[in-house]
């Protein structure tokens, strides 16, 4: 009963991971597969060769280090922006009338169902030098020369916030809508001003939603490839992109595996937090 799904996940999720770790210790070679085996059996001598060169290279190379810092920074800024836009939205959706709530939430989810690639593409036409945004701002007379947004980090931030916003709103909404409004009433009765009641009552009660939403945005954003590739510039350093280039352009599978391991290491703590949160959610339902 337990066996089948367990085995499926083990073979196609956990095992491949261990292989990545293994191959990060091998050496690139010409041929199929394009990496050297780790173990050899020759004249009854079993040898295990672990090449730590890739790790040494990665730790010593400035560009790699800059890429990690930049990935984390970009994911972090995107998460904060998502929270700043998503929280007020989730708040007002949760406080809307019963009949409006479902429709409003469906409208948040609808873009999530439509193609992610298409939604990122839609921004190219807006952000380009001769795109809609610059046309509009120049028509208004706010700017004289077009803003450079396409192929810059700004483009990536906008694309990330746009793509990940539904993931932020969903958990925030589900916490805010459950909230007992009588608590706010009590705060008001005791003389709290609306702003103070929000900070001392609503905000703490939605803490778990904030954490969950932030993790749902931050973790995938660190390894994002499509958005920096389409909207970012050649100087937009993201770890997912570096790994992709190592793999597809340089055909250096062991190096790509090493970068992947570093990415996993980077995400270990946020992933553990996410697991902890998910387990808690499941406990609550019971």
């Amino acid at each position: 009963m337990i066996g089948v799904p367990f085995l499926f996940l083990f073979v196609f999720f956990l095992l491949p991971f261990l292989l990545v770790v293994g191959i990060s210790f091998s050496q690139q070679q010409l041929g199929i597969p394009p990496y050297t085996p780790l173990t050899k059996m020759e004249d009854d001598v079993f040898t295990l060769v672990l090449n730590i060169g890739h790790y040494k290279f990665m730790l010593g190379d400035d560009l790699y280090f800059a890429t990690y810092i930049s990935s984390v920074k970009m994911a972090f800024v995107s998460t904060v922006l998502c929270l700043l836009i998503g929280y007020p939205m989730a708040y007002y959706i949760a406080r809307a009338s019963d009949s409006a709530r479902d429709t409003l939430m469906m409208m948040v989810m609808l873009p999530f169902w439509t193609s992610y690639l298409i939604r990122v593409y839609a921004w190219i036409g807006i952000l380009k030098n001769d795109g809609f945004l610059n046309q509009f701002l120049m028509w208004l007379g706010v700017i004289d020369t077009p803003l450079r947004l396409y192929h810059t980090n700004w483009g990536v931030y906008i694309g990330m916030v746009f793509s990940y916003l539904p993931f932020m709103i969903m958990p925030l909404y589900s916490h805010l809508v459950k909230m007992d409004l009588r608590l706010l009433e009590a705060a008001y009765d005791l003389g709290a001003r609306p702003w103070k009641a929000f900070v001392q009552v609503t905000l703490p009660l939605s803490k778990n939603g904030i954490i969950a939403g932030s993790l749902l945005v931050f973790i995938p954003a660190v390894g994002e490839y499509v958005i920096p590739e389409l909207l970012g510039g050649s100087d937009t350093l993201m770890i997912g992109r570096v790994m992709w280039d190592e793999f597809f352009n340089n055909m250096d599978w062991p190096m790509a595996a090493t970068v992947t391991c570093a990415m996993v290491l980077l995400l270990l703590v946020p992933m553990a937090m996410f697991q902890h949160y998910q387990a808690k959610v499941m406990e609550e339902v019971k």
Partner: protein, 281 residues
Amino acid sequence: MSTLKPSKPLSYAVLGFGYSFLYLPILLLIVYSFNESKLVTVWSGFSTKWYWALLEDDELITAALLSIKIALMTATASVVVGTWAGFVMARLNRFRLFPLFAGMINAPLVIPEVIQGISLLLLFVAMEQTLGWPEGRGVFTIWIGHVMLCVSYVAIIVQSRVRELNRSLEEAAMDLGARPLKVFCVITLPLISQALVSGWLLSFTLSLDDLVLTAFLSGPGSTTLPMVVFSRVRLGLNPEMNALATLFILVVSVGVVAGNLYMRSVQRKREREMQLAFKAA
């Protein structure tokens, strides 16, 4: 009491800004798919010629058919495996390796796709080296990858539905002598059918849209629609892609809105029936 209601103007301003941010880009994309000019951002007149161009684009049509085939296979397999996993999560959570199991279900929801892509590829390469199977990469490997991507979503939808179920129905069937498998098929499955439908639809769209995992797992001759779209939009704007995007958005939106309305009406009907049943009792 009125202080409890948030201020109307502020609420409209926030939601207005938020929803325009979410929908304006899509709206512009749709409007300019009817632009005659090849320069997507310069309006020169109404035309449907980019839609006709889609019909003659053989590369695109072949890729689209392949994507639909893979999406159908993925959705079906994900529902089978995902329901199984979700059921185990909801009902049998006392075994020793449960945290590992739950972890393996939850992790794919957030883990960057590039990580899953390279891991699965290395698995398939290693399998080919040692077992001689699967030979090369293609539809089969993409299919497994997409199922991995979707199983978690289905499992989570199903497990939360199963937890809500009132167990007395199943217990009653057991008491009447039905075997566990029969109880599952006759009682449990119909009760969670809504979750299965949403899981299937979600898997279908996720698979249809996936680029990163597919890029790692595809081989020669298995180019899917997102791969073709990506290789073109990488070079910049392309009016034909606007037309394709419009068609895609139209189909999905109609599907989602219709599905949503249907589910709401089913929900209402169920609630009504429950009330009647309790009244009768």
